[in-house]
């Protein structure tokens, strides 16, 4: 079933645990996955597995929590 078809899905903690299959399933249903994790290598592995399966993914190294990120949190973003 292709429920998403080209939507862009960001998944945090994409390297291990549930993040990996969640990313893979979004991709399998037609999404483009942005696989984010503080572990760069793990994020790359998740994205690589998706690309190897013929789907689209981008790996991003990101820590979800430094305070500096939310100094400004309004409708323009942080």
């Amino acid at each position: 079933m292709m429920r998403f078809s080209g939507k862009i899905a960001v998944v945090t903690g994409a390297a291990v645990g549930l993040g990996h299959p969640i990313s893979g399933q979004f991709a399998a249903e037609g999404d483009v996955v942005v696989a984010a994790d503080v572990m760069a290598e793990g994020a790359r592995e998740t994205a690589s597995a998706i690309v190897a399966a013929g789907e689209r993914a981008l790996a991003v190294q990101a820590d979800v929590w430094p305070w500096t990120d939310v100094q400004r949190h309004d409708r323009r973003g942080c």
Binding site: R3, F4, K7, I8, A9, V10, V11, T12, G13, A14, V16, G17, L18, G19, H20, P21, I22, G24, Q25, F26, E29, D31, V32, V34, A36, D37, V38, L58, V60, Q61, A62, D63, V64, W65, P66, T68, D69, V70, H73, D74, R75, R76, G77, C78
Partner: protein
């Protein structure tokens, strides 16, 4: 930083339609033995503030395109208490509250915020449970469906809430636990 994550996503693809706040950690310690300044703080920073931060970073992009779906990964530990997991329980309970609060404020902006609360699932994080016969017996006794969850069974709930099919579902936490939180086995 979350802003790095969203900046890269938007730079490559011009938009963000879906965010899954999945990241989480679960160290264990008795409350009275816990180093509050490091362990408790770290847990809340990653499990709760990390999800908040992810939302802060993506919501403006979702508002720009007029639609977005956020799925937070909670836990059955957001509903029931577990020993040596006070910070985890607090953080996951807070995720369920955050999910409702953001849905309440953002649903009219066509931003859906929901959560999935997985039960005991066969993942690396839970590997110690499956290596412990006593724990396995206890889990089995309390598990109405008589087995543990597979990752794809959690994933399918996440995908449902992220899809257009769930457009009338706002602020909900979908418990996917084989019936584990439905009652006690005695």
């Amino acid at each position: 930083m979350c802003s790095v994550m969203t900046a890269e996503a938007v730079e490559h693809y011009d938009r963000i339609d879906i965010l899954v706040n999945n990241v989480g950690v679960r160290p264990t310690a008795f409350f009275l033995e816990m180093d509050i300044s490091s362990r408790w703080q770290r847990m809340l920073d990653v499990n709760l503030n990390g999800a908040m931060c992810g939302c802060c970073a993506v919501i403006p992009h979702m508002l720009e395109i007029g639609r977005g779906k956020i799925v937070n990964i909670a836990s059955v530990a957001g509903i029931l208490a577990f020993t040596k997991r006070s910070a985890y329980v607090a953080s996951k309970g807070a995720i369920i509250g955050l999910t409702k609060a953001l849905a309440f404020e953002l649903s009219r902006d066509q931003i859906w915020v929901n959560a999935v609360a997985p039960g005991t699932t066969v993942t690396p994080m839970n590997a110690p449970y499956f290596a412990d016969p006593a724990m396995l017996e206890l889990l089995d006794f309390e598990m109405p469906i008589g087995r543990f969850g597979q990752p794809n069974e959690i994933t399918s709930a996440v995908l449902l809430l992220a899809s257009d099919e769930a457009d009338f579902v706002c602020g909900e936490t979908l418990v996917v636990d084989g019936g584990w939180t439905t009652g006690k086995g005695f």
